[in-house]
C-alpha cells in the first residue's frame, strides 16, 4: 500500500531528526535544562558541513563531524555565558541564541542569506542515517550509564544537594550541553545533505519547539521514549495528509490528547532494553516450566 520510496523519505527524515532529539533528550531529560535554541545548533552544524563540502572539498563524514564539533564549540561559548543562569532564564537565553543564529545567517550573503544555499551534494542515504543513529544511541546510552551520566541525573533531581556532595554542577551541565549541541550539529549536517538546500527559515523557533515537544512527548529521561517519539511525531503529519487544511489542527489535537492520557510522556522515564526483554522472556520460560512440572 505504501510505496517504499515515500516510506524511505520519512524514515530518513525521522532518522535525521532523531539526532537533535537525542541531544536534547540528554540536556532536558537527563540534566533538567530546557532549551529552545537547538535549531540554532542544527543551523550551525548544517552550514558548517555545507561550507566544508562545497568550499573546502572535505569528504562527507569528516564534514558532518566538523559540523557537529563546530556546533559544540558554539555551545561551549554560549554555556560559559549562560549556564550560571537558573531555570527559566537559561531557557530564555537559548531561545534568544537560536533566533540570533537564524537572523545572522539571514544576512550572511556568502552563504546565500535568506534566499538559501542551493546545490549542496546529496550524500545522505538511508544506510548512513541508520548507522549514525545506532552509533549515536549506543554512545548516549553509555554516557548516561557512566558516572558522568549519573552525575547529570543528580543535577536534574536536586542541584543544591548534588553540589553539596561534591558534584561540579556547572561542569556537568556544560558537558551535557556540549554533547547535545554536537548531536544537533550532526543532525543539521545530515539535513542539509538530504535536502541539498539550506535556508535559515528551516531552523526557525518552530523547529526548536518541535524538538522539545518530541522529547517531552516521548517521556523525559528516557532514550527509548525519544526514539519512539521522533518516529511517531515525524510520521504523524504524513499520516494525516488527507486532512488537507485541517491537518495541523488534527495533529495538535492528537498530541494534546496523548499528553492528557499520558502526562509523563509515552515511555514515562522507562527504558526498553535487551535486559528487560530477556527478563520478560525468562519469566515466561519459568512459568511454562512451572506449568509443565505440574
Amino acid at each position: 500500500m505504501l510505496s517504499w520510496y515515500y516510506l524511505k523519505g520519512i524514515i530518513m527524515l525521522a532518522g535525521i531528526y532523531l539526532l537533535p532529539v537525542l541531544g536534547l533528550s540528554l540536556l532536558t531529560g537527563f540534566t533538567g535544562l530546557f532549551s529552545f535554541g537547538h535549531a540554532g545548533f542544527m543551523a550551525i552544524g548544517g552550514y558548517t558541513t555545507a561550507f566544508m563540502m562545497m568550499k573546502l572539498k572535505v569528504p562527507f563524514i569528516p564534514a558532518i563531524l566538523i559540523g557537529g564539533l563546530f556546533a559544540a564549540l558554539f555551545s561551549f561559548i554560549i554555556g560559559k555565558l549562560t549556564l550560571k543562569l537558573k531555570g527559566d532564564y537559561f531557557c530564555i537565553a537559548t531561545l534568544g541564541f537560536g533566533e540570533a543564529i537564524r537572523l545572522l545567517l539571514d544576512n550572511i550573503q556568502y552563504f546565500g542569506g535568506a534566499r538559501g544555499w542551493p546545490g549542496l551534494p546529496l550524500k545522505t542515504t538511508l544506510t548512513t542515517v541508520i548507522i549514525i543513529d545506532i552509533i549515536a544511541v549506543i554512545l548516549l546510552r553509555n554516557i548516561i550509564r557512566s558516572r558522568h551520566g549519573r552525575n547529570m541525573i543528580a543535577v536534574r533531581e536536586e542541584e543544591l544537594a548534588s553540589s553539596i556532595i561534591g558534584i561540579d554542577t556547572f561542569k556537568y551541565k556544560m558537558i551535557s550541553l556540549v554533547i547535545s549541541a554536537f548531536y544537533a550539529g550532526v543532525g543539521g549536517g545530515l539535513l542539509g545533505t538530504y535536502l541539498g538546500f539550506l535556508q535559515p527559515k528551516i531552523f526557525s523557533l518552530t523547529r526548536s519547539t518541535e524538538l522539545t515537544i518530541i522529547v517531552i512527548f516521548g517521556g523525559l529521561g528516557s532514550l527509548t521514549g525519544s526514539v519512539v517519539g521522533t518516529i511517531l511525531l515525524i510520521a504523524l503529519p504524513e499520516i494525516l495528509r488527507s486532512f488537507a487544511n485541517w491537518r495541523l489542527v488534527v495533529y495538535g489535537v492528537i498530541v494534546v490528547f496523548i499528553m492528557i492520557a499520558r502526562p509523563e510522556g509515552l515511555m514515562g522515564g522507562k527504558e526498553l532494553s535487551f535486559d528487560i526483554i530477556r527478563n520478560l522472556f525468562r519469566k515466561r520460560v519459568k512459568e511454562v516450566k512451572a506449568e509443565g512440572g505440574k
Binding site: 520510496y5 537572523l103 539571514d106 535568506a114 538559501g116 527559515k201 528551516i202 499520516i239 492520557a261
Partner: protein, 382 residues
C-alpha cells in the same frame, strides 16, 4: 476517560490511513499533483492556488478530459516548509504516481524538491517561486523544474527601471525584510539597476519578519528625504509600514512588487497606499482576465489572489505540453515544455529551453487610485 481518548486517537489515525485509499479504477484517470501551503502563514495563497487548480481540471474533465482521460488533482499541504515539500513530492511521485506537479508557491520549497523530481522523472511547474536558482543553479538548468512567473531580478529591475526612466525619480529609499528571501532578492536587483541607471539609494533599512513597528526605520528614511520608497514585501507589513510612514509625514511615492496585490491591502491600509505603484504579473481589469476572475468569484465567493491566475496558467501550460507530447510520460512532457508557447491569462508565455523560465514576459504596472488597482501600462525593462 483516558481509555476513551486513546481509543479515539487510534481510531482517527486508522481512519486517516485508509481515507486516502478510496481509489478509482486507474485505467481512465491520470493524476496531477499540487503542493503548497494550505496551513500556516502563507495559507491564503496556497488555498487560492489549490482552488484554482481544482477548478481548472474540473472544467477540463467536463469538456472531455485530456487525451481521452479524466484528470484527478491530488493536493498536499507543505506548511510552506522545504522539508515538508520534499515529503509531499516523494508521496506524489511514488505513491500517487502523478504525471506532473503544479506549485509550490515559494522558492524555499521549490529548490529542495528538484532532486526528487529528477530521480522520479516528474516535471514540476512552480507558480510564484521567483528565485532564479529554482530552475538554474551554477549555470546548469535543472531538467524537471519549470516556472510560470518572472524572476526576482526581473521584477526588481522593472521596478527600478520604471521608477527612474518613466517616473523620473532620482533618490530612492528601500525598506525590506531581512529575514525573507523574496524581499532580499528584489532589494538586491532594485539597488543594482537603480544605481546603474544613475539613481541614488539614499537609505536602506531592514526589518524582521513579523515586526509591527516600522517607525525607527521610517524616521531614518524620512531624514534622507527620498522621492520614492521601494517596499518589496507582503501586504500585511505593507499596510502597517505605509500607514506609519504617512503618520510620520512621509509623502514620497511608495512602490512594491507582487507581494502587494491582495484584496486585503485596501481594507488594511486605506488611504496610506493611495498613489503607489505596484509591479505585478497581470492587470486585474484586463478584459482577457475577466472570465477567470468572475468564475472564481462565483465559485468560491471571494476574489482570487494573484496566485490563482498563475496556477491556472501553469495548468494551461501543462495541458498544452501533454497534448504536444501526446503522452503522459514525465520525460516527454518535460521535452514538450521546453520552448512551448501559450497564451495565458497573465500574458504570452514562452518557456526558454536553457532557463525553464517564461522569457521576456511583460510586467504590468499598477497604480492605486481611489482605493482601486488601476492598470497603467505593460512594461518590460531594457
Amino acid at each position: 476517560m483516558k481509555k476513551f481518548l486513546s481509543l479515539l486517537v487510534v481510531f482517527v489515525l486508522i481512519a486517516s490511513l485508509f481515507s486516502g485509499c478510496a481509489k478509482k479504477e486507474a485505467g481512465d484517470v491520470v493524476k496531477v499533483g499540487w503542493i503548497g501551503p494550505l496551513t500556516g502563514d502563507q495559507a491564503v495563497w496556497g488555498q487560492c492556488e489549490s482552488n484554482a487548480v481544482k477548478m481548472f481540471f474540473e472544467e477540463l474533465n467536463n469538456s472531455g478530459g485530456l487525451l481521452g482521460k479524466k484528470v484527478e488533482v491530488v493536493a498536499y499541504d507543505t506548511r510552506g516548509d522545504g522539508t515538508e515539500a520534499v515529503n509531499a513530492v516523494r508521496r506524489l511521485t511514488s505513491q500517487d504516481k502523478v504525471i506532473a506537479i503544479i506549485g509550490p508557491n515559494s522558492s524555499g520549497q521549490a529548490i529542495p524538491i528538484s532532486s526528487v523530481l529528477e530521480e522520479m522523472k516528474v516535471p514540476d511547474i512552480a507558480t510564484v517561486a521567483t528565485n532564479p536558482k529554482v530552475t538554474v543553479v551554477d549555470g546548469k538548468v535543472k531538467p524537471f523544474n519549470f516556472r510560470i512567473c518572472f524572476i526576482d531580478p526581473y521584477q526588481g529591475a522593472v521596478a527600478a527601471g520604471y521608477a527612474i526612466d518613466v517616473l523620473g525619480f532620482k533618490k530612492a529609499a528601500i525598506l525590506y525584510d531581512i529575514g525573507d528571501d523574496y524581499s532580499q532578492g528584489l532589494t538586491q536587483y532594485f539597488e543594482e539597476v537603480f544605481t546603474k541607471k544613475g539613481g541614488q539609494i539614499v537609505a536602506k533599512e531592514g526589518f524582521k519578519t513579523g515586526d509591527v513597528d516600522f517607525r525607527p526605520q521610517l524616521t531614518k528614511i524620512k531624514a534622507a528625504n527620498p522621492d520614492v520608497i521601494f517596499m518589496p514585501y507582503y501586504y500585511k507589513e505593507v499596510a502597517l509600514s505605509a500607514k506609519q510612514a504617512r503618520e510620520l509625514g512621509i509623502t514620497a511615492t511608495l512602490m512594491g512588487g507582487d507581494g502587494w496585490p491582495s484584496e486585503q491591502l485596501m481594507t488594511m491600509a486605506g488611504d496610506a497606499v493611495e498613489g503607489s505603484y505596484i509591479i505585478n504579473h497581470l492587470d486585474f481589469d484586463d478584459p482577457e482576465v475577466q472570465p477567470f476572475r468572475n468564475k472564481y468569484k462565483q465559485k468560491f465567493g471571494k476574489d482570487s489572489e494573484i496566485n490563482g491566475y498563475l496556477a491556472t496558467d501553469a495548468c494551461t501550460l501543462l495541458v498544452e505540453a501533454i497534448k504536444k507530447a501526446n503522452s503522459f510520460e514525465g520525460e516527454k512532457i518535460k521535452e514538450a515544455l521546453e520552448g512551448i508557447e501559450i497564451k495565458g491569462i497573465t500574458g504570452n508565455i514562452k518557456i526558454g529551453k536553457d532557463t525553464h523560465n517564461p522569457e521576456n514576459k511583460e510586467a504590468a504596472i499598477i497604480k492605486i487610485e481611489n482605493g482601486k488597482y488601476k492598470f497603467v501600462e505593460k512594461y518590460a525593462v531594457k
